[in-house]
Each structure stands twice: as C-alpha cells, then as structure tokens.
C-alpha cells in the first residue's frame, strides 16, 4: 500500500523521480512518463509476477527484477531500457508468439490487442521456430462467453477480476505447464453472473463474447461514450456501432477507456443487453389502428391524428411518462402537459420514494451522496436493497472499497444478501420493518421489537455503527415516507450522506423533473394535483378519460384491467408493441437512450450526459415527437423550447451524428457576432432551462459536456407540501438478468437469465 505521507527518491534511466513509499516501481515509472510493459499486472488486482514483461535492471541486484512486484526504495537505481532488458522482453514475446495462433486477421481483439501492441513495440520481426504449435479447440462457457486457449497468454487477469473484483470466483487454472488452461471452476460451464468483466480485461482475444465475436473489425466501428440504459447506477459505456442497412447496429458496449466513475466496470446487462435495439420486433414506422389492426402510417399522418385527438380531449387526458427518457424529455413532457394540454394528470412508474427523500434531505439540510462518495466512504450503512442484484456497480464499488481500503459496511436487511460477505456487521431484521431501524437506533423499544432483533445482536451492531466518524447511508425501496424522514433525521446530525436506491436509468430524473400529478420539477408543489397513475388508469377504464398518452412506459404489464388502455384514445411512444402498445390507437416509434442526446440522473443524483451513438431508420427521439405533436397543435414552440431565432420544428436534424448535439452552426455564427440560430430540437436548450429552474440542477455545463458526472442536490428544494405516497411505489426487482420491458426484448439477456437461474418475474417499464 502506497503511503502518501512519505516519499522516496529513486533514479530511473538517469532521471530522479519521487514516489510515495510503497508504490510499485511500475506505477512510479508510469507516474513519471516511463512506460514498462506488462501483461499480468493490472492495477487494483493482486500481483502475479507471471508474465515477466516488466523485468528491469536494479543496481545491486544480480538478477533483473519485476517492476510490478517491487516497491520503490530510497536510492534505488533502475534501468528500464538496457540491452538486457530489451532482449528479455523480445524473447518473452518471441516464445509467447511461438505457440500463439496468430489468427489476428480474424481475431476479435485484432487492432485492440495488447499482445499485438507489445509485439509492435518490443517484439521480434522474425520467427525462429518451425515446430507445430500446440492447439486446443475453442469452448463456449456460457450464453455469452467463449474461450480460445491458443490465444490465451495466461496472464490470469480474468481469474482475478472474477474473484477479487466480482467476488464470483468462477474461473480457475487447470492442468500445469504448457497444458495450463483457464477453466470454469464448476464443470465445463460457467455458473456465474455473466458480467463479461473477464472478457473485457483479457489483453488478447482469448475470451470473446457471443454478442461481438466475428461481427466486425474494431476500426469499422464508431465509438460513443454515453450512459448505460439499464439500472439506476449510471455507468458510462462506450457504445461501438457499425453502419448497417437499417441505420446502424450496436455491436459492443464496454468502458475500456475508463471514463466515468465506473472505471472499466460494466455488469452483464450493461455490457451485453443492447441487442433489443436491433430486435426483429422493433417497430420503426408509425402505426395507426384501423378496424382493430395496425396500419403503417407516415409521421405526418400519425402526428396529425394525435394532435387532433389531444385537442379534442382537452384536460380529459392522462400522461404517463418514463423511467428511461431523458431529463429534457421528461421536463418537456410535463411542461407541455401542464402548459399546453393543461392537464395535471401526469405520473410515472415510481420505483423509489424520491419525493420523501427530497423532503427529508431538505428538512434536515442533509447531504446527498454522489456515487463518487461511495468509493471513498470509510463506513457505509446499507438498509434494505440488494445491490449485488439490482445495483451491480454500487455493489462493485462497495466490494472494491472493502478490498482496497477496508471500508466498513453495516448491512441491515431482511435477507442474508450477498454483500453480507463483505459486511463488517450484518443485522437481519423482519421483512417490511427495515424503515424502523433508525427509530430503534435512537432507542425506540417498540421499533426494536418490530425489527425482531434481540439486544444481544442489536447493541454490538449499533455500538460499532455509532463509533463511525463518517457515514454514508444507502437505502432501498423498503424505506418510504416517514421511515426515510426518521432515517435522515437520525443520521444527518452526524454528518452522514444519503443515497436512495431506485430502479431504472432515469428513475431519479423522472422524479426530479416532476413527472408527478402533485409535484413540479424540483419537487415544487403543484397548485392543483392531478390523478396519480393507478387513479388515472381507473378513470380511463371508467371511460372518463378521452385520451391516454404513454411515453416510454408499459403500465399494462402491472395493471390487469385492459379497459384502462382499450377505452381511451391511446397514444404510445415506444420501441416495441408492448402489452400497453398493443392497445394503442396510434403508435409512435421512439429511439432509446443510445440513439439520442440529453442528460440522465442516476439514483445518486449524478447528472450525466447521454450522447447519440447509433441510429435506426424511421424512429425519432421522444423530444422530437413531443415537439411535433405540439407544433401540430399550434403550440408556441418557442415557449416550450426557448431556442433563439425561430426555425420550424422540421429544421432540426434528427439524424446523423450531430443531431441533438450543440448546434455547430449556432456556435459558428455566434462567434462571429451574427444571430445565433439554435434548433428547437436541441435538448441542450431545455437543459439550460432545467439548470435555471430546477433547484439543485445548476451544475457546471462545461464539466458536464466534458463528460464529468455532476452531482445535483436536493437540499435547496422547498420541503413544504411534499406528500408521501408510499403506496404508489412498485419496485421493479429486476435482478441481474432482467431490465423491465426493455430487457425482455434482449435475446442475450433472456439467454443469460435462462442459463443462470429460473426466470424471474420481469417488472415493467
């Protein structure tokens, strides 16, 4: 462990450098711009000394030493580029390549391979050996994972990331010597989380995925860094896309460039479940129902029909928003609903009690935690929730923090969740009573009785917890309403930070942007409350609603009464003919997260930028669809999206790499003192409005655009009048192999789920 308080001075290649005591030589060199090649060394994982690529000469040592295992020492004199060192690297590469199949022309890793790069830089140009290479056939270990032993250089990164990083320990080494292979520890197949971390970390093409293998050459893709479309953790993912006859096809998601908080982490969903985008079931043309059957229509026809019917409906219209659409879309949707459609009947599928959280935080003037705080926290209290299943990145962060700086986790849960293994203290409580922990902690005997814990177990837990000088409190959807108030009020005075766990990529954003009948953006109390989602559906079923507009949601999956969807004039914006969409009178095909620009807010309140990565013919972002409807209804577009210089809604570019990005022409003209013309389809204008009007959202636009997650806050909001509606919260309980309705359209995710566990109920949205 590096000790930042003490420095040592050493000489590398004649240059004097300093590094914190305990730093590994390879890291000290890297910090000073001196590269030492490495295969087996991987920051954050245990040391191996196996590949011998990092051998360097150290004065007074008879043999060359591995820079990856040698800590710096005062006065050390190191040479990293002597003839001896260079020859050692060269010969290691030479014999490594001797048994290597050299099938680079067809290898997935070709062009992105550390062995290729290393050979290019340090390797020999000729092959000395003429004997036959060792061969083993390729194996498939899981629905997504393949292993090709001949390509494997046995760096053991995969084994370590699976064990140390994922805490799954599914991989091991079998046989010995030249016969060594990487192998699943249980039989010939992987019984694991299919996270694909092992594939990602593999320096060569030995581990490949069913989703990417033999699909493309890396240089044929364009890469766009955006935010994962699945759970509420908001991992940054680089989406690799190739052009195809339907626009473009996503072929890979990873985070090799380590942008974002998640470093190179992605879970199996984030990594592999993108195939729904090019699913055969995807609808790419507007549909109008005629005589009970969907008929393809043009956008103009469909939008005109919707506009006419909305006009007719007046306020007799319910709007259901989404946990997946961007902040700008959600903001625009509620603004349009409230100011143009003049309805307060707007809601969304709530997976966590964010309103109560906002009220509690603002009332106690407490701090919310960014996901960044999780890694740094010295102690974490986790009440309810199951991060290993529902927040894979959060779970990864907690495990890493325990491993790397002995973070203490206090788990309060009704079940022995997987993180119990990393927990310093675990307290099993009665299911449904998690919310009473704070009261019991404060000495409430009745609450303690409800928890079902005896003092022999409770006291040591709370004594240890009370001794923590700084605390991060994370809680799941078990906590609602007054439970959250009590929790925040109990721990806020101790300076704790709080994190409330919701379920989908922009669940928090939907709440922050006011997709509520009674709350405006920033949880400001609306003057008049509309109907909440279940009441809206009842009203629709009863025939009191003229129209129902569902934007990126699937309420029919959770609502048995089909009349709610059959009776009103139903407009659905979605990717698929979901349970809800099947009842639609007009279906408008929408793009999803990777096909548009905007921002999303993860469950910790970190605001991040979505960038458009791919494109599909025929579909449009919800932002554009809303505006088109608005325009057809004769609404003042400039009032909805205050762009400067009016152009028609059609003028915005909805296709191509620049769509939705900052308007280049505007930048150009403005820079020359000319009138700037921004497009109304540019969501950055709405983001500007959000920053100005939504408390806590006034973040640095520059940093945001530069790709840095910007923590939003809740502390400035007005807690007055925020009511708890605990009964409206329906957690999705997606688990590792489900992602609501969307996940159901991913063949890969379905295959993973079918292999690794009995199918789980798929929550909607």
């Amino acid at each position: 462990m590096a000790d930042a308080t003490q420095n040592v001075t050493l000489t590398v290649n004649g240059k004097t450098i300093t590094a914190a005591k305990g730093t590994l030589l390879i890291e000290a060199c890297k910090q000073n711009g001196i590269e030492i090649p490495a295969f087996c060394y991987y920051p954050g994982l245990s040391l191996q000394g196996a590949c011998r690529m990092c051998l360097v000469e150290i004065e007074k040592m008879p043999k060359m030493q591995t820079a990856c295992t040698t800590p710096v020492a005062e006065g050390m004199v190191v040479q990293t580029e002597t003839e001896k060192v260079v020859q050692a690297r060269k010969s290691t590469l030479e014999i490594l390549l001797a048994n290597h199949p050299l099938d680079c022309p067809v290898c997935d890793a070709g062009g992105e391979c550390e062995l290729q790069d290393m050979t290019y830089k340090y390797g020999a140009g000729e092959s000395k050996f003429i004997d036959i290479k060792s061969h083993r056939d390729e194996q498939q270990w899981s629905p997504v994972i393949f292993y090709d032993r001949p390509r494997c250089i046995l760096c053991y990164r995969c084994v370590r990331v699976c064990g140390e990083g994922m805490d799954v320990w599914a991989l091991g080494i079998q046989n010995r010597g030249q016969g060594s292979v990487i192998a699943p520890n249980q039989g010939g197949k992987l019984d694991c989380e299919d996270c694909g971390e092992c594939i990602d970390i593999c320096p060569v093409g030995a581990l490949t995925s069913s989703t990417y293998r033999y699909k493309t050459r890396p240089w044929e893709m364009t890469h766009t860094g955006t935010v994962c479309a699945h759970c509420a953790d908001g991992c940054i993912t680089t989406v690799g896309v190739r052009r195809s006859d339907t626009g473009s096809e996503i072929v890979r998601c990873d985070n090799r460039d380590r942008s974002g908080l998640n470093d190179d982490f992605l879970c199996g969903k984030g990594r592999f479940a993108f195939d729904f985008a090019s699913s055969k079931e995807r609808v790419t043309t507007p549909l109008i129902k005629r005589d009970g059957k969907f008929v393809a229509a043009t956008w103009a026809e469909a939008v005109e029909l919707v506009a006419a019917r909305f006009k007719k409906a007046g306020a007799s219209l319910g709007v259901i928003g989404s946990n997946h659409t961007t902040n700008e879309e959600n903001y625009l949707l509620q603004k349009f609903a409230r100011t143009v459609l003049r309805t307060n009947h707007i809601d969304h599928h709530r997976t966590a009690d964010y309103p109560s959280f906002a009220r509690a935080i603002a009332s106690s003037k407490a701090q919310t935690a960014s996901l960044k705080d999780v890694a740094a926290a010295s102690a974490v209290l986790l009440i309810g929730g199951n991060p290993s299943e529902e927040h894979p990145f959060l779970a990864w962060q907690l495990r890493t923090a325990v491993r790397q700086h002995r973070q203490k986790i206090y788990v309060v849960n009704a079940a022995p969740i997987k993180l119990k293994k990393q927990a310093a203290h675990f307290l099993q409580v009665t299911s449904g009573k998690e919310g009473e922990f704070a009261a019991a902690f404060s000495g409430d005997a009745a609450a303690l009785a409800h928890l079902g814990v005896d003092t022999a177990r409770f006291d040591p837990f709370t004594a240890a917890l009370a001794s923590e000088s700084s605390l991060l409190v994370v809680f799941g959807s078990e906590l609602r309403g007054a439970g959250i108030d009590k929790l925040v009020a109990t721990f806020a005075p101790k300076g704790a930070k709080f994190l409330c766990l919701g379920d989908y990529a922009n669940s928090r954003g939907a709440a922050d942007m006011g997709l509520f009948p009674d709350l405006l953006p920033g949880y400001q109390k609306a003057e008049n409350s509309g109907l909440a989602l279940p009441q809206m559906l009842d009203a629709a079923a009863a025939g009191t609603f003229e129209a129902l507009w569902v934007v990126g949601a699937n309420p029919a999956a959770r609502h048995a009464d089909v009349n709610a969807f059959a009776k009103p004039f139903l407009v659905v914006q979605d990717m698929f003919l979901t349970e809800t969409a099947q009842h639609a009178d007009v279906f408008l095909p929408a793009s999803f997260a990777y096909e548009k620009a905007g921002t999303v807010t993860n469950t910790a309140g970190d605001l991040q930028r979505l960038k458009k990565a791919s494109d599909v013919h025929g579909v449009k972002p919800d932002f554009e669809i809303i505006l088109r409807i608005a325009e057809k209804m004769g609404a003042d577009i400039n009032a909805l999206v205050p762009f400067r210089g009016y152009t028609s809604a059609d003028a915005g570019q909805s296709r191509g790499p620049q769509s939705g990005e900052a308007d280049r022409n505007a930048v150009f003209t403005e820079a020359r003192g000319l009138e700037a013309k921004t497009s109304p389809l540019d969501p950055t204008i709405t983001l500007e409005e959000i920053a100005q009007t939504v408390p806590g959202y006034a973040v640095s636009r520059l940093k945001l655009l530069a790709g840095e997650a910007q923590p939003t806050t809740l502390v400035q909001i007005d807690p007055a009048g925020i009511a708890s509606h605990s009964e409206l919260i329906v957690p999705a309980r997606n688990g590792l192999y489900a992602s609501g309705t969307l996940g159901g359209y991913s063949e890969t995710l379905r295959a993973m789920g079918a292999t690794h566990r009995a199918a789980e109920p798929v929550g909607a949205d």
């Binding site: 000394g49 590949c51 011998r52 048994n99 004997d131 046989n175 010995r176 010597g177 030249q178 060594s180």
Partner: protein, 440 residues
C-alpha cells in the same frame, strides 16, 4: 525398498542408523534417539542457533544456504504462529537420498524438525512427503504416532512445558512443489505455484506465519550436529561446508547407490572409487554433479572437490547431490531431450519464459534428435535456454535452462553430428514416427 551400499571412504553420520531398524521408536532410542531434542530444550533458541552456525551445515535441498543463518532470520516475536516445514518432496532426477532417510530413520527427521521448532519458537512442524513416496508416508505416519504415544510430541514435550505438534502431509505429484513457496501453497491446499518473494518464508510463510523450511536431509543432520557439537560436525567437512552429505550415485556406474561422503570429497574418487568406475569397461563422457538441473562436467573436468563452493567455481553446482554418470556411448542430444522432457512436464506453467521455453526446447530437441534438425536449431536451442535463465518466476526455469545450455556449449559437435538427417551416431534414434511434420 532400496538396497543399501557401503564404501570404506564413507563417514556415516546421517546414515548411521540405516539398516538398523531405527524406524522402530525403541530401536531409535537405543541409538541415541531423541537425546538431541532434549539437549536442544536445555540449550534454548540462541544456544541451538549458535551450534548450527558453528556446524557450517548448509541446506541439502539444493541451494546450500547456511541452515543456522536461515533460522536466525525468523523474528522472535510474531503475531502469527510460526512453522517448521520439512521438505521431503525429493523429485530432482538423479536424487534418491531423502527416501532412504524416511525409510530407515524417520525419527531423525522428526527430531530435527523439533529442534528447528524449538530454535525459532514454533509450536507446529509439518513433514511434507512427495506424493509418489506413498509407502514412506506410511512409515512417517507411524513414526509420528509413536512419538506422540511416548509424549515426545504434542503438549509439554519431555515435561519441558513446551508444546510442539508434528504433522505429516502427502504431496500430489509435482516436482515444482519442492520449491519452498510452492510447497507452502500446496500444503495450504492450493495449486502448487510459487509465491512472490520477498517476503521470504522466514518472515511470511505458511498461512502467513514466519516459517523455516528445510530439506529432509538437512533436518535429519540437525540432531547429529547437536550431539557431536557444531564445531566437531564442521570439522568433518571443509571450509564453509560442514559435515557430510548423502550423494546419490547413478547412471553408468559399476556400483551405483547412495553414499555418505564428507563435503570436499573428490568427484573423481566418488566416480572411480566409491562408485566403482564406469560400468562395462566404458569410458566416461560426462557427469551431472548435483541433480539433473546442474550443468554437466566433461570427463576432463572432474578433478574438483564436492562442496558448494568448488562446484560453483567449476561452473556447475552441488545441488541435491545427485551424481549422474554418462558413458561414452550416451547420446548427449538424447540426454538433453530426456532432461527437458522432465522439466517441460514439471513446469507449473505460471510464467511465460519457463512454460513456453521448456515447451519449445522439447519440441526442438525432439525433432532434432529424431533427425529433423536444421543448422539454426542449435543456436535456437541455446537462445531459448539463455533467454530463460534468470528471468523466470522461480528457479525451475533456471533448472531447465542450465543443463541444456551446458550440453550445447560443451557438446556442440554432438549436436552437429545429428544434422542433415544423419542417423544418431549412437544408434539411439527414436522411431521414425517420432519425427514431427514441420510447419514449413
């Protein structure tokens, strides 16, 4: 069961009880058994280590590290338990001496391990025996049980108040776990792969505790050191090489066998007098002096003393004391192939230079000896070996490279004689089907 041999030049110390039925604990007691450990309890740690240092006893496992010095590295205070480990993995080709100790004098190993434990303040000793030595494991199990039955091991040994548990453990068939850190992994139930050093076992060893690991012969010599006194023991050998060691004489000798000779004894005499000279009236071609991993000596290089320093000066090593004699009818290429086959088979595969190097050495030598050699092979073989040397994760890579390098350097003409599809000059050709198909 091995037959015992004798020669008048032998100085029998560690083999003193061979053939005397000393596996029986009562017989062992009659032959001064368990006296040294009682003396050790009186001497105490510092006293024992002083005797050990005076004895100039150097490790018999191969590296020849001074045993007393090794024990003195173990910290006196330790939060974790300390351990003593007997390395009985004996697997180096040409070496077959520890097995005789286990068979004829198992209690000497137990007693030596106990003394080591007392010296470093450890309360647990493990005796690790090579997996293939199953029959010896049974002898050792009984010996340990008998020692417990007499109250020599366990709680309060010899009424001294000192607790000392003795355990046995059987290997699973890997030469590599003879390497000290791989042995600890193996004993802990993991794959037999070595550990990163530093930290060294004396500081962080078995289950993270400070650990002394010694070869079985080293430990079996320890009671004799205490009984004779360190100085007297040292005087049996030569400067910096105290005492005797068991030399395993094998190969083309008239009287092969395990002989106990004082350190510093002449290699020439060991071959021609003790071992009875080259068998069948043939001439000497080469000697491998210290187990298969040590570079060979040619017939005219054998006028050296058998001690760690002299062999080192001669460009080879005393290693495990396995002296393998090759007569003039031996094909060096075939011998090199046989040697590398062993190391390729035994490489644990952890690091690239050894895993791939041994594989390509074997491939090249196999084809080469089968008559498929091309001129550049000779340099390639040398190149491979040179580029393994000093670069691997553990010394097995060196052990594989050194002998091959020696053969190519010293017997290049024999390699050349195999070129161009010529038949093996010694008629030791492999069957034609062994000739691999070349990739070009």
């Amino acid at each position: 069961m091995a037959t015992l041999v004798n020669h008048p030049d032998e100085v029998k110390i560690v083999s003193r009880r061979f053939g005397q039925g000393a596996a029986n604990i009562d017989r062992y007691l009659e032959l001064d058994g368990y006296k040294a450990v009682q003396k050790a309890l009186e001497l105490g740690p510092d006293g024992i280590i002083a005797e050990m240092k005076a004895s100039n006893l150097r490790g018999r496992g191969g590296a020849g590290f001074p045993t007393g010095l090794k024990w003195s590295f173990v910290p006196k205070e330790s939060a974790k338990p300390k351990y003593v480990l007997c390395n009985g993995d004996e697997s180096e080709p040409g070496t077959c001496k520890d097995r005789l100790i286990f068979e004829h004098d198992p209690h000497s190993v137990i007693e030596g391990a106990m003394i080591a434990a007392i010296a470093v303040g450890s309360h647990a000793a493990y005796i690790y025996i090579r997996g293939e030595y199953r029959y010896l494991l049974e002898i050792m199990q009984k010996a340990i049980a008998d020692a417990y039955a007499k109250g020599f091991a366990g709680k309060n040994i010899f009424g001294s108040g000192y607790d000392l548990e003795v355990y046995w453990h059987g290997g699973a068939g890997a030469y590599e776990v003879g390497e000290e850190s791989a042995l600890m992994e193996s004993l802990e139930g993991k794959r037999g792969v070595p550990r990163i050093r530093p930290p060294f076992p004396a500081v962080v060893g078995l289950w993270g505790g400070p650990t002394v690991i010694n070869n079985a012969e080293t430990l079996a010599s320890v009671p004799h050191v205490l009984l004779m006194g360190g100085k007297a023991y040292a005087e049996v050998g030569v400067e910096r090489n105290g005492g005797t060691r068991l030399f395993s004489l094998s190969g083309h000798l008239a009287r092969p066998g395990v002989y106990e000779l004082p350190l510093g004894y002449s290699l020439r005499k060991a071959i021609y007098e003790v071992g009875g000279g080259v068998a069948n009236g043939r001439q000497l071609k080469a000697v491998v002096p210290g187990g298969s991993s040590t570079p060979c000596l040619k017939a005219d290089e054998i006028d050296i003393a058998l001690d760690f320093d002299s062999t080192m000066k001669a460009g080879t090593m005393l290693g495990s004391g396995g002296i393998v004699v090759l007569d003039d009818q031996t094909c060096i290429v075939k011998f090199a192939l046989r040697t590398i086959q062993f190391y390729r088979h035994e490489s644990c595969g952890w690091c690239i230079p050894c895993r791939e190097g041994t594989d390509w050495l074997q491939k090249s030598l196999k084809r080469f000896h089968a008559g498929g050699g091309v001129a550049k092979d000779i340099d390639n073989i040398r190149y491979l070996a040179e580029n393994m040397l000093g670069r691997t994760f553990c010394p097995l890579g060196d052990a594989a490279a050194m002998p091959i390098l020696g053969f190519v350097k010293k017997f290049r003409e024999e390699f050349e004689a195999h070129l161009d599809g010529r038949p093996c000059p010694f008629g030791q050709h492999d069957a034609p089907h062994a000739l691999p198909v070349l990739s070009h």
